[in-house]
């Protein structure tokens, strides 16, 4: 049959109006919750509504915000990377070791980023080439990288980094409380939004997560796509390690301990499915900001760290529960719709 050019549209592009598609979803719910937390905190927590609060939250969650971006990609393909926290530590240690050995800090930082990229590549190749499960591989490399990070420095810690570098994370966009490094972050997030939501690469990521076989049959190079996601996660973990080194002015082997779970929890809260195929960049970012704001507000009112953990953990479970409840309702609806077109 020959291709006909349409002079009219035969199908509606969308079943629901724009406002329902954009507002009635998991991501919007998290954004609403985020604003609710911010407003509540601003009105009830003393001294919360200050620029210094923004400054602290963004400074402390900068690495988590960065890692949320590639982790979102990794998890949508159906994989997971729990070695990112250790890679942050490894990058931090290596930066310190190179600097301690007399190399310029710039070289140390590049080594830190490079080791992250390399670690991500190792994860990616083990998962895609050899076909091992991502959870098992990164569980292994999590221990491996952490061991290297701690062993490399031994009992020493490296300090006294040049101030022209360590001051960078401290810079603030005057009067706003927003750290200058956030400008870089906004650009980075823009790149990830483009990658995931506006490229064929991104469409491939979703397809792999939903049905890897069908993706292969549509010409998606699943191995390469998944490896790239792991390499991005590694590279940004490397950058995160450098950031921590500069922020604290110290290179320590335990840097980034537990960060992977914090990031995964936040993006799952932001709507990324642990089964793959579902999630967005903006949802992931909102998830990290929500956890960050909540933890900070609770901390300011004097709630101890253990209680904060309990609260954020409970919130995650509640969000996942709400999510599956919505899925359940939607599925029931879809089932009824299906019967309307296919009574068979």
């Amino acid at each position: 049959m020959s291709e006909r050019v349409l002079d009219k549209t035969y199908y509606a592009d969308y079943a629901k109006p724009l406002w329902r598609r954009t507002l009635i979803n998991r991501e919007s719910a998290i954004v609403v919750l985020l604003f609710a937390v911010i407003i509540t905190a601003c009105t009830t927590v003393p001294n919360f509504a200050e620029t210094i609060t923004i400054y602290h939250i963004l400074q402390n969650y900068f690495t988590a915000l960065m890692l949320a971006l590639p982790m979102c990609l990794v998890m949508i393909t159906g994989d997971i990377d729990i070695s990112v926290g250790s890679m942050v530590g490894l990058s931090c240690s290596l930066t310190g070791v190179v600097y301690n050995a007399g190399g310029p800090l710039e070289v140390g930082m590049l080594c830190g980023i490079a080791v992250g990229l390399l670690g991500g590549l190792v994860n990616g190749l083990l998962v895609t080439r050899i076909g091992l499960p991502a959870l098992a591989v990164t569980l292994g490399t999590m221990a491996l990288f952490r061991g290297l990070a701690v062993g490399m420095l031994g009992t020493t810690t490296v300090t006294k980094f040049p101030e022209n570098w360590t001051m960078i994370p401290q810079l603030e966009i005057t009067g706003t409380g927003i750290p200058v490094v956030m400008i870089f972050y906004v650009l980075l997030a823009g790149v990830f939004v483009w990658l995931l939501h506006f490229t064929t690469f991104g469409r491939g990521i979703y397809a792999i997560g939903l049905n890897a076989q069908a993706a292969t049959f549509s010409g998606v190079n699943s191995g390469r796509t998944r490896t790239i996601a792991f390499v991005l996660a590694g590279g940004l973990a490397g950058l995160g390690g450098v950031y921590w080194t500069l922020l604290r002015g110290v290179a320590r082997g335990d840097t980034g301990d537990g960060l992977e779970l914090q990031v995964i929890a936040a993006i799952v809260l932001g709507g990324v499915s642990v089964f793959g195929g579902v999630g967005t960049i903006w949802g992931s970012i909102a998830g990290v900001l929500l956890i960050g704001t909540l933890a900070n507000a609770l901390q300011v009112v004097g709630i101890t760290a253990d209680i904060i953990k309990i609260i954020t953990g409970g919130l995650l479970i509640a969000a996942v529960l709400a999510g599956s409840l919505i899925t359940w309702i939607n599925n029931r609806r879809a089932k009824l719709d299906r019967l309307s077109t296919d009574g068979d």
Partner: protein, 517 residues
């Protein structure tokens, strides 16, 4: 029939909101009988089965089991009453043994609540003997063929002493030999006095197995007749409510240049020495029994599966192995066998699925938008008359026939020079089926080269200009349209080398009977 029916449905209906899935369904199943239920997709067959199985609750009408009115609220209740349903693709626990699968959820226990394994095993051994099937009771069910998995489901039904056994399209994924074995088992169960119901799209199966047939159309009961009093033409007419002139309308075409050439393709243990070519304007059939390696060859040509040596050429240019993207770029479209697992991303919108193969061309200034995808999908959904309200509906919400149209749309959108279609009409209704055939024929007429794999012999004979027949991984015959008959194709499909066709016919029947045991 003098006996009382085991199961009776009278004027049963089922609505979902505004939608009527079943307007008026009626059926009577008698002990010692195999009853066929036929109808197009959407006729309400599956809804009827689901009501019997206790999955749905009817809105109105009568449901009698062994003469008494029943009201099943769950599948457990219908099972307990003695109704077993065997679906097209059984859902077993792959890592558990055959025995454990048969007794899942009702393992016999001894005094200390310890599972009585020996009793379980003994019963399964006995069941397998009774069914005449040599299945090892201790092996895990992973890796068993669908035919064997169905046998396990049947064994389960017998051990539950099911009085009614319903088989919903059980033969769709079976080879000829496996179908024969299933039928032998079904006849045995019939002779034991059970009531069987059989749903199939294949008339030859209905005529060889069943004694009674009920036709449904658009959610309504149409007729019930004894098999011996009807014929295929009459049934098809009742199913579609109109005269169907020809199921396979293949137009004559002018054969052009060679599009696909395959030389000496090998994959150890899968296929060997595959030589074939497909020319522009030609529909070439690749026939053979399930497991002969047909789909594997197609997948290797497209680059999804590997091959160790040999070459694939498209329009004279060699294609790299294991690279579907390169095959697509060179102009191959591939409609795979399993549309749910391979053809579609079921949870993605229709628009995304339709544009899956042409997405690269929709990128403008490095950006691809849903708007661009929708615009492209609009055209192809309309061309293929996909029935949907909106393009963002998920593919899983469509019926089988419409899903197949989406897969076709996806590949036709890429404007391929060679279209490989693996089982073009599996599991879709008669109307959509002839629509797909008409389109294939039209595409060939417009100069596309088509390689078609099909397990349905009438489809191969009706559609193909030329037929390659495979047996155990090798091409055993290349037949022209005139040479291809049910006998010649079936002979090549069951023999490794092809002697003079003169002595063939008698041997064919023998072979089928032998392997059918």
């Amino acid at each position: 029939m003098s006996q009382a029916p085991t199961l009776q449905l009278r004027d049963v209906s089922k609505h979902f909101g505004q939608v009527t899935a079943l307007a008026s369904g009626s059926i009577e199943l008698y002990p010692g009988s195999i009853h066929a239920l036929i109808g197009e997709n959407g006729a309400g067959k599956s809804t009827l089965v689901k009501i019997i199985a206790g999955l749905y609750h009817r809105d109105s009408g009568e449901f009698l089991f062994e003469g008494k009115p029943v009201d099943f609220k769950s599948t457990a209740e219908s099972k307990a009453a003695g109704i077993a349903v065997i679906y097209q693709e059984p859902t077993l626990f792959p890592d558990l043994s055959v025995t454990e699968n048969v007794f899942m959820g009702r393992q016999p226990v001894n005094r200390f609540f310890r599972i009585n394994r020996s009793a379980m095993r003994a019963e399964v051994v006995q069941l397998m003997e009774r069914l005449g099937v040599g299945l090892d009771p201790d092996r895990p069910t992973r890796g068993l063929s669908i035919a064997d998995q169905q046998i396990i489901e049947i064994a389960k039904a017998i051990s539950l002493d099911a009085k009614v056994l319903i088989m919903d399209e059980p033969t769709a994924a079976l080879s000829g030999v496996e179908v024969e074995r299933l039928f032998a088992v079904a006849r045995q169960l019939r002779d034991e006095g059970r009531a069987l119901m059989f749903i199939s799209h294949r008339f030859n199966e209905v005529f060889s197995l069943c004694d009674t047939v009920t036709v449904m159309r658009d959610g309504n009961y149409v007729s019930t007749v004894a098999i011996k009093d009807t014929n295929e033409h009459q049934l098809v007419t009742q199913m579609v409510g109109r005269e169907v002139t020809s199921l396979f309308p293949k137009l004559d075409t002018e054969v052009g240049e060679t599009v696909l050439e395959v030389h000496g393709l090998n994959s150890p243990g899968v296929f060997a020495d595959i030589d074939l070519h497909v020319d522009a304007g030609e529909i070439v059939g690749l026939s053979g029994l399930v497991g002969a390696g047909r789909s594997e060859v197609a997948r290797a040509i497209f680059g999804v599966d590997p091959y160790t040596d040999g070459q694939v050429q498209l329009l004279g240019k060699p294609l790299p192995a294991r690279n579907p993207a390169a095959a697509m770029a060179a102009g191959i479209g591939f409609v795979p066998e399993d549309r749910r697992q391979q053809g579609l991303v079921m949870q993605n919108p229709i628009a995304t699925n339709i544009t899956d193969a042409i997405r690269g061309s929709l990128v403008k200034r490095g950006v691809i938008t849903h708007k661009a995808e929708n615009a492209a999908a609009q055209i192809w959904a309309h061309n293929l008359e996909v029935k949907t309200a909106s393009l963002d509906a998920k593919a899983e919400t469509l019926s089988g026939g419409n899903q197949q149209k989406v897969v076709l749309a996806k590949w036709l959108a890429s404007n391929p020079k060679l279209l490989i279609i693996d089982e073009p009409t599996r599991g879709i209704d008669v109307g959509t089926k002839s629509e797909v055939h008409r389109r294939m024929s039209q595409l060939a007429k417009e100069g596309m080269a088509i390689l078609m794999i099909s397990s349905e012999l009438p489809e191969v004979l009706g559609m193909a200009d030329r037929v390659y027949v495979m047996h155990e991984g090798r091409i055993t015959a290349e037949l022209s349209r005139d040479e291809a008959t049910p006998e010649s194709v079936m002979y090549a499909a069951t023999h490794s080398s092809v002697p003079a066709p003169a002595a063939v016919e008698i041997e064919v029947t023998e072979t089928i009977v032998e392997t059918g045991k």
